[in-house]
Symmetry: C2
Subunit: 199 residues, 2 copies
């Protein structure tokens, strides 16, 4: 890259961002140089800082720069209830949308033997030792409603049951506000077999 220079290096470097191709990388680089150098410098140093200092919470694997994340270190949250999710975005979504006030446990993926992702990669040894220690009465499985997510949920449910912990799973069914005719067959089948009495 010697002949091309720093602008081209920047365009190339921006392509590490998901969904950013050569054209939008170029547009981003020129925009920052022309209009927003201070914000770009701030982004640059924040990137380096975050990559160096953000790691996983010791208890739940959520990203944090501290030993414990803000959920685990929040004394107002109930430690006896644990919600198990696949991705950090799920934590934020559940925190925003529901009234769950327990703690989380983050898998950062799902079981996938073909990709070599086993229980240890999901931190299930950490989860198991936490269940062993006691203090957790109930776990709620909130993995994705996919084949892999469900297999992972079943696997974790078995571990929890062995430790005498109540196992819950978030409901699957037709999404609120959606139209029935657009629901896929699998969702409809689940919604139908999980039907509840109205009154």
């Amino acid at each position: 890259m010697s002949s091309s220079g720093l602008l081209e290096d920047l365009v190339e470097a921006l392509r590490c961002l998901p969904g950013v191709g050569p054209k939008s990388a170029q547009r981003m680089a020129l925009h920052l140089l022309q209009r927003d150098r201070d914000a770009a410098r701030r982004l640059g140093s924040t990137l380096v800082d975050a990559m160096d200092r953000v790691h996983h919470c010791e208890q739940c694997r959520i990203f944090t720069e501290n030993t414990l994340c803000r959920w685990c270190s929040d004394p107002a949250r109930v430690s006896s209830q644990l919600c198990i999710v696949e991705s950090p975005a799920d934590v934020l979504a559940i925190d925003r949308a529901t009234d769950f006030r327990g703690k989380f446990f983050l898998l950062l993926g799902h079981l996938s033997p073909l990709d070599g992702i086993g229980p240890k990669d999901l931190g299930l040894d950490l989860l198991e030792s936490r269940l062993e220690t006691g203090g957790v009465d109930e776990i709620t499985l909130a993995t994705n409603p996919t084949v892999e997510g469900q297999a992972t949920a079943r696997y974790i449910g078995d571990i929890a049951a062995r430790h005498g912990v109540t196992v819950m799973q978030i409901a699957r069914g037709v999404p609120v506000g959606s139209e029935l005719e657009f629901a896929d067959g699998g969702t409809l089948a689940v919604a139908f077999s999980h039907r509840t009495r109205l009154s």
Copy 2:
């Protein structure tokens, strides 16, 4: 942002990128933390480096970290021909698509009295002193085919004419490979009035 932490700072900082809203900023931050920390560190340091060291070429205002850009410093390019463009992306596009082998001059915008953008903001004093010095025989106006771009081209054409420099303008007309019925009326009118004899 004390309670939210470094991950949230990173999500916020990513929003300086054009076209990046809160959701994609979050997706980018999590992707980098989970999968590409080295690339993210490299992006971070390249950003800071580029913002600190990239400035405008002394001769043509193209972005470079050197005194002269790679076009101005290329002895293989003809100095007597100058192509005038509005944006850095135009330089790259013309360089890629055409056989123009002269040098460029970058306006970084167009005349816009209402926004307070006058000749000096486009570097036209620099351009004029370059024409005065001599050595430029011909300029090609390649500003955008918009009202503002055309007004800017006319203004620059007048300056060049005063210095006895030949003024060319890139052709306007229907885009190659497009279908006539989808061309807008203005383009069609220009294409028609600029029609040329075929043989």
